[in-house]
Amino acid sequence: MPEVTQGKQGNQGTITPLRVVIALCLFAPFVAMLWVSSYAKTEPLFAGIPFFYWYQMLWVLISTALTMVAYKLWQLDQRARKGGDAR
């Protein structure tokens, strides 16, 4: 949902590099997961599990890490703006 992310930035006023990184962190899982043909295959196996399955399970961990990064950056962003114009 790119429009949601962008809409958020619009409401918050300025687009800073930090906010772009936050948006990318949140947007990356959508690209990875909706691009099904990039992972619809059996090889390589991992511990006997086809690629299709372990790759998506791996993305649970990757997207969690990305959301955590986004969360930490967001905290930084809000602190920087303390008393500022965060609407």
């Binding site: 949601v4 809409g7 619809a40 649970v60 990305l66 959301t67 986004a70 965060a86």
Partner: protein, 541 residues
């Protein structure tokens, strides 16, 4: 399969069931507030839950017994297509990270209990609010019914309730008892009961999955062996369709379906009233953001759980009804006592969401139908009373549904419910970020989405059903097979945008917005709630 009652498993099951029943009734004393007779207390647990309680509550709420039974069941019957639940739950969290804190803030500021409350406040439109409320109630009812289907599956495998030839009353008695108890403690304790029971439910589920994912593959000769056997099974021709039963990896034709289902379901999940109820019960805005970073643990569990579907095939489980595959796998592979633990996990896994869903539906009725249209001057005590009664009615309705109609009816309605609830997205999430859209345009978009979705779903045939045979059909203009809900959602958006231009051009009345921009970033502070975060710039008073 019906080889008599499994006594040990049943005893363990009953033990856990009794334990959570006691907890359910005691829950009303947990974090008790001074004013019990308000909807904030009964229906939102006093809006007091911290990070961990919210985590258990949301986890217990979203990952239901039906999920545990249905996801592996889908893998068992069709293979890769059933795994869409994993990308679906991956996409949910970045999505809610962006909009849920805003909903929390504005609801906290204005005392909103339901999504319809917000829509009414934002757009000044009772009609739009009613549309959202009715959609929410319609989508939730079959979901509650499906929780019962989950309990039934477990009872069946344990040999309780007997076969087809048993008298109907004896057959349904265990379900009636389970449901009666659930209704009683939800009535007396409100949201606190499922919040407390969710601890037990999730602990049991995590233990069962951890054991299953290690123990069963060892017994079956490792994952190589499991996937090899599953691959063979999928390659065999399905007599009903004349095509292979399924596949280990989605083919070219299935990829659009896979992606649209994942995206559409992710967009829909937090439109469901019960997800919002669990969200609004949290103590602060930060609790929600923090939860989006720890909730994915459930997605990992769901992925592992899905793999059980392959194990059921490899273990040679043969069931006509896919829903029974996993309970049957547990019964076959585990020692009796542990099978009892696993069944208890699924059974309790049905009680928690059923309780939250009935509370959420009751809140919608009370706030957005009863108070808005029937008795405008209702006091908080009256609201609570009505909500309690409606939560009972909703459950009785779901029970009647399951007992009188075929299971497939509940599943069909659940399918439709997902399509329907997605149509409230533009009003709710759109409304959180912008007030550009016109209230009448939103209402029209919603109606178009609902009608298209229902008609399209009606037109899908499957080998076993003439109508409502699936969730996907050809996307007009693209020609690929995609999730009906998402197509309807896109139509809905297009209609909303076009009509907004038109209505603005003719200067149709906009309706009063009772919220202000700062409400959407306000954190706890108004009502003496503590927060660990520095306050945001534009502060609340």
């Amino acid at each position: 399969m019906k080889d008599g009652v499994n006594g040990v498993a049943l005893a363990v099951f009953i033990f856990f069931f009794l334990a959570v029943t006691v907890m359910g009734f005691l829950a009303s004393r947990w974090r008790r507030a001074e004013n019990e007779n308000s909807l904030d207390e009964w229906g939102l647990g006093g809006r007091s839950f911290g990070t961990w309680v919210t985590w258990f509550l949301l986890g217990g709420d979203l990952y239901t017994a039906y999920t545990f039974v249905a996801v592996p069941a889908l893998i068992y019957t069709a293979g890769a297509a059933g795994f869409f639940a994993v990308p679906y739950t991956i996409l949910v969290y970045p999505l809610i990270f962006t909009f849920l804190p805003r909903l929390w803030s504005v609801s906290h500021k204005h005392g909103y209990v339901t999504t319809s409350d917000f829509v009414r406040g934002r757009f000044g439109s009772k009609g739009l609010s009613l549309a959202v409320a009715v959609t929410g109630i319609l989508a939730t009812m079959p979901y509650i019914a499906l929780q019962l289907v989950g309990i039934q599956a477990v009872l069946d495998v344990m040999g309780v309730g007997g076969g087809e030839d048993t008298h109907w009353f004896i057959k349904d008695l265990p379900l009636l008892i389970a449901f009666g108890v659930l209704a009683a403690y939800t009535y007396s304790s409100g949201l606190r009961a499922p919040a407390l029971i969710a601890f037990v439910k999730d602990t049991l589920i995590y233990i069962v999955i951890a054991v299953a994912i290690i123990y069963i593959p060892i017994k079956l000769g490792g994952f190589d062996e499991i996937f090899a056997k599953a691959g063979e099974a999928y390659a065999q021709t399905n007599e009903a369709t004349g095509k292979p039963r399924g596949s280990l990896v989605p083919g070219d034709a299935g990829q659009w379906t896979y992606a649209t289902l994942a995206l559409g379901s992710a967009l829909a999940l937090f439109m469901y009233p019960h997800s919002i109820t669990a969200t609004l019960s949290s103590r602060s805005r930060e609790v929600i953001r923090r939860n989006t970073t720890i909730l994915p643990l459930y997605s990992l569990m769901l992925g592992l759980l899905a793999l059980l579907g392959f194990m059921a095939i490899a273990a040679g489980i043969q069931v006509k009804n896919g829903q029974l595959a996993i309970p049957q796998l547990f019964e076959t592979m585990f020692p009796d006592w542990f099978a009892g633990v696993a069944f208890a996990a699924i059974g309790i896994g049905a009680l928690v969401p059923a309780a939250i869903m009935s509370i959420a539906a009751a809140n919608l009725f009370t706030r957005n139908i009863y108070k808005d249209f029937i008795k405008k001057d209702a006091t908080p005590a009256q609201e609570t009373k009505v909500s309690k009664l409606v939560s009972l009615l909703v459950k009785v309705g779901a029970l009647a549904f399951v007992l009188t109609m075929d299971k497939t009816v509940a599943i069909n309605f659940q399918l439709l419910g997902g399509i329907w609830i997605l149509q409230t997205f533009p009003a709710l999430v759109g409304g959180l970020f912008t007030r550009w859209m016109h209230r009448w345009a939103l209402l029209a978009g919603w109606a178009v989405g609902m009608i298209y979705g229902t008609v399209a779903a009606y037109g899908v045939a499957s080998p076993t059903q003439k109508h409502f045979g699936g969730h996907s059909t050809e996307i007009p203009g693209i020609g690929e097979i995609g999730y009906i809900g998402l197509t309807a959602f896109v139509l809905n958006l297009v209609v909303t945008v076009v009509l907004t231009f038109v209505l603005k051009a003719v200067k149709a009345p906009e309706g009063v917005d009772e919220t202000s921009p700062s409400d959407y970033t306000a954190d706890a502070g108004d009502k003496g709630v503590q927060t660990e975060m520095p306050k945001l710039g534009a502060d609340t008073h």
